[in-house]
């Protein structure tokens, strides 16, 4: 027996969604952009000509030491050239390489955090939407009060307290990923879970009293079966669209935190951090500011185009042609 989730993610469904997406001009632009960025995140470091922290030598300022080895000065604030297509920053690091390396953190952290938020929000929203009553009243008011606090402020406060505490914990996982990264994932999950839960709750409410849910009740199905097999597929379109939207906001949040100096720490090539580093250097080397800004802007636009397209395509409901 094919399960409903398999059906939602079945090859024919995915190919149909893709076909409809590619038929939509704006959505296909978004899809291409997002796929391009995912490629950068996955393969960027392999393609990069230099390491993100490596200082590029200035061939014009080299000295041959008596021992025979050549020591060169750093090529600082070099404009784009054939050797450094996007120029170098004030420390003499290759901008292209930094961008290619930075993709992982800039996309990876929001992706992981969005995944957690979507999963938690889905479970929470399905539950309170279906069960209703007191659990719904209490959790909904809690969600409302959480949403009343501006996201960035909540993020700043939580991050300021969470990151140092995490750093004190002696755990190999935290050591390897970095306490700031983990703190950012926790903060974004905390911020976006209620938002996703609200969307899922609303979609669940619409399906809760449908005939097929009642038919399942009359068969004596368990609550878990009704939630995940009967209701979830119908909620999925809203969830996918909301997930894509949350992802684009999460990118903004991560880069904003980087820009404020609270996120990634030097010498990290996270794009928000790169904007912060380049800000004071704008007069000497404007390209160091423009390249990460453009990278972030194009990515967010691409994700938004894709999520709008998904909304148009999935809104039609299931159509098994």
């Amino acid at each position: 027996m094919q399960t409903s989730l398999q059906q939602f993610f079945s090859v024919s469904r995915l190919s149909r969604t893709l076909r409809l997406l590619t038929a939509d001009r704006a959505a296909s632009v978004g899809l291409v952009v997002v796929l391009f960025y995912i490629g950068i995140a996955l393969f960027g470091p392999m393609l990069a000509p230099h390491n993100f922290a490596q200082v590029v030598d200035d061939p014009a300022k080299c000295l041959t030491r008596s021992s025979g080895d050549v020591r060169c000065a750093a090529l600082k604030n070099a404009p784009p050239s054939s050797a450094n297509p996007l120029g170098t920053d004030r420390n003499g690091r290759d901008m292209l390489s930094r961008l290619l390396y930075g993709g992982r953190e800039t996309l990876g952290l929001p992706a992981v955090a969005t995944f957690f938020a979507v999963m938690l929000g889905m479970a929470l929203g399905l539950y309170i939407g279906y069960v209703g009553g007191w659990p719904d009243e209490i959790l909904s008011r809690l969600i409302d009060s959480l949403l009343a606090i501006p996201a960035l402020i909540l993020a700043l406060v939580t991050l300021a307290t969470l990151a140092p505490s995490l750093a004190m914990i002696d755990s190999p996982i935290i050591q390897s990923l970095g306490s700031t990264s983990i703190a950012i994932i926790i903060v974004i999950t905390l911020l976006y879970t209620p938002i996703v839960a609200r969307v899922v709750r609303a979609a669940t409410l619409a399906l809760r009293d449908s005939g097929y849910v009642e038919a399942a009740k009359l068969r004596g199905e368990s609550t878990a079966y009704i939630l995940f097999r009967e209701i979830l597929p119908g909620v999925m379109p809203a969830l996918v669209v909301e997930g894509a939207l949350r992802f684009s906001y999460a990118i903004f949040l991560v880069t904003s935190l980087g820009f404020l100096g609270l996120g990634a720490q030097p010498p990290s090539p996270e794009w928000g951090r790169m904007v912060l580093d380049a800000r004071s250097n704008y007069a000497e080397a404007p390209w160091t500011l423009w390249t990460p800004v453009a990278a972030i802007a194009i990515l967010v636009i691409g994700v938004n185009l894709l999520s709008d397209g998904l909304q148009r395509v999935l809104r039609g409901g299931p159509d098994n042609d």
Partner: protein
């Protein structure tokens, strides 16, 4: 009434196309229609036949992606296609008025009725606001709305559905149009309200000397209201005739099939309804020859070629190669009648389900507000014997759906007892065991909504078998039962892998029935099993319900607002009004005197379809009581004493207001809840007095 020879509206060879996947497909094709002044012309067709498209085409209000591809529409001698937008302004809403299906959608919720009505006459007749309001009040008075002046101040949501439709009719007639187009104006209304509105439409159209195009899927209302009728199928005119000759002697096989599929035409208790095989073609797969040929029982080779719409005499025309034979009586276009499946000895004394003093009051008012109750079902008791069918009939708001949901525990009853196969069962779904769930199956009103769009037919039915049939656990067993029930409802095994979106409305209802019977239940509750279906599909499902009952050892409770459906299926009828049983008894007795005044009113409201023996239908016999006026009261303000006293045509006096009527027992368990003694009721109803 003077007849002029010039038709008021003349549609010639009209073709309207829709763009589907970048291709233009005809939705209506080569339609000819003419309406004389003062004529009420019925346009009948099943869903998808293009009848609403034709109405929109005449109004010049086609939806986007539709185009007027060919043909002409002449109104008062002018070709409507040549009109400029400014000229259209003078025609639409003025010379041609429109009454839509859903009045609540057509009325602006933020403006008062008076403002909206006045706007029409101000725009088209140039009246001042004051005069326009005065005229609106007069128009409303003519539609028999109580207190028309106060109604002008009200907003649409403060009126009932029947009152809103009266407002729409008054608004449409306020400019004294020559032609009125009515698109299913009574479909959303209750039977009793529908009958009143129909009579009103007929009287007002006559009074205002207008002509009308009445679009409907319901042959009964067409028969009652119209002078001539055009039958539309797959966007083509099959037959046009006067109402009398069409119902007496249909010339087209589709028309005869349609007429034969009406449950009121069933000849006897044991008979099946005649059905039309197959399904109507979709826009993209229309047959090239005669559009009805694939479903026609008397199809011949010549039908691969499209027959012309032949004019026979006067208004009568037909599009069929074989109409001469049908007219001469040498060819019977009806499907050969299939005898009903043999039913073994029917209802025994053994009781499957016993409902005792069931009550349900909906509590509303939130956490902070004071609670107020709406009594949906009060003190209902009845028994369901084995192998019998109980029919529950009532208008919307009568509590019939709440009663059914309380029995299957989708709605928790407040008090009362339920006994299934001599075992008391809980009123709470969570406390019911698997065997109770298995023995009590429910068929939902809307088959589309009761099937999960993400589950295949196999999954929907298989899950039921696995959960409720304790004897069948292996995959082969489940698959075998699945194939059996699919065959039983007339579907091939290929349907097992389909999703609901790949099924038609009738097929979805078959799957829903298969799912119910897969559990081998003792009792099946069907809530309006055919109300979402077309007439010809309804006949198929009604036959199926009868067959399944004969095969499976099950009883039914069938709920419907349609007395024809109930009396076709049921052995025992329960008439519900505001949550109370007004009358119950054997099918044959409930439909004959003595009966409760409410049952009498329901029967009066059902349009009778002439079968050729009576010459002309009349809405009500001379000595019959008038049709029920007003609407069913809100259960929130349930009348005291007899709940029906506010509308009862046989109202006695104070006793009906102050005292609960006694239950009067007749023969064979027949019970009537009325202050009038049975003998007196019989005398009143047989007209012997």
């Amino acid at each position: 009434m003077t007849e002029t020879q010039e038709p008021l509206l003349c549609v010639e060879g009209l073709t309207i196309e829709y763009q589907i996947a970048h291709q233009w497909q005809p939705a209506i094709h080569d339609v000819h229609l003419s309406i004389m002044p003062h004529e009420i012309h019925g346009l009948v067709g099943e869903s998808g036949s293009g009848k609403s498209t034709l109405g929109a085409g005449i109004l010049g209000d086609l939806p986007p992606l539709a185009r007027h591809a060919d043909g002409h529409i002449f109104f008062e001698g002018r070709d409507l296609a040549t009109l400029t937008p400014a000229e259209w302004q003078m025609v639409r809403g003025h010379r041609i008025a429109f009454v839509p299906q859903n009045p609540l959608e057509a009325l602006n919720p933020t403006l008062t009725i008076g403002t909206q009505m006045a706007e029409v006459t101000r725009t088209h007749l140039g009246l001042s606001h004051k005069d326009a309001l005065k005229q609106a009040g007069e128009m409303l008075a003519q539609t028999n709305l109580p207190d028309p002046i106060a109604t002008l101040q009200r907003y649409p949501h403060q009126l009932s559905g029947g009152q809103q439709q009266r407002v729409m009719i008054a608004m449409a007639l306020s400019t004294r149009p020559r032609l009125l187009i009515l698109d299913e104006p009574t479909t959303a209304l209750d039977v009793t309200t529908r009958a009143v509105i129909l009579e009103l439409v007929r009287t007002l159209i006559r009074e205002k000397e207008a002509a009308a195009l009445y679009i409907s899927h319901d042959l009964g209302t067409i028969a009652q209201l119209c002078d001539t009728v055009t039958v539309l199928y797959a966007g083509e005119v099959m037959e046009t005739a006067s109402v009398q000759s069409l119902f007496a002697k249909p010339l087209h096989p589709y028309t005869s099939g349609l007429l034969a599929s009406l449950p009121s035409r069933a000849s006897g208790d044991q008979s099946r309804l005649a059905t039309i095989k197959g399904a109507a073609p979709s826009l993209v797969d229309r047959p090239t020859g005669c559009v009805f040929a694939p479903r026609c029982p008397v199809v011949i080779d010549k039908c691969a070629e499209k027959p012309p719409l032949e004019r026979i005499e006067g208004q009568r025309s037909v599009r069929c190669w074989r109409w001469h034979e049908i007219a001469a009586g040498t060819l019977d276009p009806r499907q050969p009648a299939v005898p009903a499946a043999l039913e073994t000895t029917r209802s025994s004394d053994e009781v499957v389900l016993s409902v005792g003093h069931l009550r349900k009051t909906y509590q509303d008012g939130g956490f902070w507000q004071s609670k107020s109750g709406v009594q949906a079902v009060s003190d209902v008791s009845f028994n369901v014997p084995r192998r019998s069918t109980i029919g529950i009939v009532g208008e919307s708001g009568s509590g019939k759906t709440t009663l059914a949901r309380a029995i299957v525990a989708l709605t928790e009853a407040d008090a009362g007892s339920l006994t299934l196969l001599n075992q008391p069962i809980s009123l709470h779904l969570a406390h019911r065991d698997a065997s109770t769930l298995q023995n009590l199956r429910y068929v939902f009103q809307n088959p589309g909504d009761s099937l999960n769009p993400y589950h295949t037919v196999r999954s929907a039915i298989g899950r039921t078998i696995r959960h409720l049939r304790k004897d069948e656990h292996s995959t082969q067993d489940v698959e075998q039962t699945l194939q059996q029930v699919l065959t039983a409802v007339g579907l091939t095994s290929a349907y097992a892998d389909r999703y609901p979106s790949q099924l038609s409305g009738g097929e979805k209802q078959r799957v829903a029935l298969a799912r119910a019977f897969a559990a081998q239940p003792a009792l099946v509750l069907a809530d309006e099993p055919t109300s979402a279906l077309d007439v010809s599909v309804q006949a198929v499902i009604l036959n199926l319900l009868k067959d399944l009952r004969a095969q499976a050892d099950a009883s039914y409770i069938v709920i419907s607002h349609d007395l024809d459906v109930i009396s076709y299926l049921a052995d025992w009828i329960i008439v519900l009004y505001l949550g109370e049983i007004m009358e119950q008894g054997p099918n044959s007795q409930v439909r004959h005197a003595p009966m409760h005044p409410y049952t009498e009113a329901l029967l009066m409201s059902v349009p009778t379809i002439p079968d050729g023996t009576s010459s002309k239908t009349t809405l009500s016999a001379k000595d019959a009581p008038p049709l029920l006026q007003g609407d069913i009261p809100s259960p929130r303000h349930k009348p005291s004493g007899c709940p029906f006293h506010t509308r009862c045509p046989r109202f006695l006096g104070d006793i009906c207001v102050t005292q609960t009527p006694p239950v009067r027992a007749g023969e064979n368990g027949h019970e009537i809840c009325c202050h009038i003694p049975l003998d007196e009721l019989r005398t009143l109803q047989t007209g012997g007095a």
